[in-house]
Amino acid sequence: MPALPSPKPVVITSDSVAFCLRLSRVIESYHNGALPRAVSQLREEGTDLCRHGLVRPGLIRLRRAIVSLKRTTP
């Protein structure tokens, strides 16, 4: 594992409000918005957290929502 001298950090693009909104849209596209209660609650919380600047906790909630949708959708 060569450790390189002071490399410039690469930006992770998924840590952004834009990605939050994208995930939120992905969730909406399932079942045309007719979402289970738990999923829509996760989505709202996630989007909310992202808007208030807490991107990573928000992302976690949105992703959970997607995973639970994938599990219930064949």
Binding site: P7, P9, V10, I12, S14, R56, R63, K70
Partner: protein, 489 residues
Amino acid sequence: MSKPAAFAPASRQSGLLGLRSVSLRFALVYGTLFVCSAVLFLSFIWWGTVGLLEHRVEQAITTDSRALFNIWSEGGPTGLTMIIDDRLEQDIDDNALYLLVNKDNKWVAGNLAEWPRQITINDHWFTMPVKRSYTEDMAKVRAYALPNGYRLLIGRDISGRTLLRKIVTDTLLWACVMVTLLAIGGGWLVRRLFRHVIHSISRTTQAITHGDMSRRMPVQGSDDELDEIAITINEMLERISRLMDGVRQVSNAIAHDLRTPITRARTQLEDAALHAKNEDELRAAIEQAVGNLDNVTSICEALLRIAQIESGARRSAFVLFDLIPALQDVCELYEAVAEEHGLRFVQHLPDHLPFFGDRAMFQQAVANLLDNAIKFSPPHGTITLSAKVLSTARRTDGSRGKRLRLSVTDEGIGMSEADMARASERFFRAEQARNTPGSGLGLSLVQAIVQLHDGKLQLASNTPGLITRIEIPLPDAETVPAQSRAAHP
């Protein structure tokens, strides 16, 4: 302790090192051993946790890459882009990193803004910094080449693991420090304990060296090895002081018993020098003096012989032989003497009796007993020599063994109980025997010879007279070779 020879010159040069001290060496060995084993143990823990975590990350990335290759071969860049998006959407752990670029190094898919400049080699592990929303983390990544100049970067954010690793490493380092401290403390304790034991032994032995034979090692009563050493040393001291008492007693006796004939010889010579009137008187006195000096010589010889027998060196000359012809030989020698003294000499002997020992010495023992019996018997008495084999199960190993019982019985003046107990002491002579000739060493010699043959000498009263009994373990009859009987017809 492993190389005391190598330590020796250094310690002679600098006393400060003190490596000549066994206790310090012991403590150092203890400490080193303790630290080494602890370090080994902690390293094992380190590899078991941190090492395993890193390995897991690498494994996850490799598995991921294989899956993505399959997708690529089926769906090309479009399929791969979809899958990467999918993965990122469902990445609950929030640590996955992907980047797919085309041959112009342009972004196609993934969550990294650009291809990191430092990653120039494919199929190689890299650790690099990444910028998250409000932190800067470390990530482990690997680049893969795809057809048509596409390149794929797969990675994991390992900052969570880095934290764990830091905690474990710190803990283990602290443990190392603690262990070292413990080792030093333990070593110091071991050294003190060791010194305590050694000093206790050396104090006692020093006291004994300075003449205090009554000192003994303290026994704690805990039945441990230290007690064992203490008990062994005490037993040794016990035996030494018993031997010393014996030596003192014997040297007193020697001084006394040798002085008597020497005094006589001296008196005779001085008397002759002063008063002899003619040559004949002078010669007679000198002859008497020589006789007394011969007596001194025979006492010395007997003492030396007893000492030599007691040392056990003659045991190497032991052979198997038939005891009966050997006994008959001695009897033949003394029969005439008994007859001369008007005594009846009766023998009860079996036909054969295989015996393991020193033939000449055993004959001497029997001769001494017969000598005594004849000396102390009044006329018309009977002297009996009998030998028989007793069967017993009294051997230490529990097997049935045979014993020889040889007894010489007389009807003489006998001995009192108290005298019997002391009879085999050197120079001991019962009061009644003071006026009979002899050195008082006969029974001591018999005792020594019997003990050399692992036997016992017992005296008993015969009212009137004395029974002298010798019991000696015999060899197994089967092991006696036939020629040992033929050897002494």
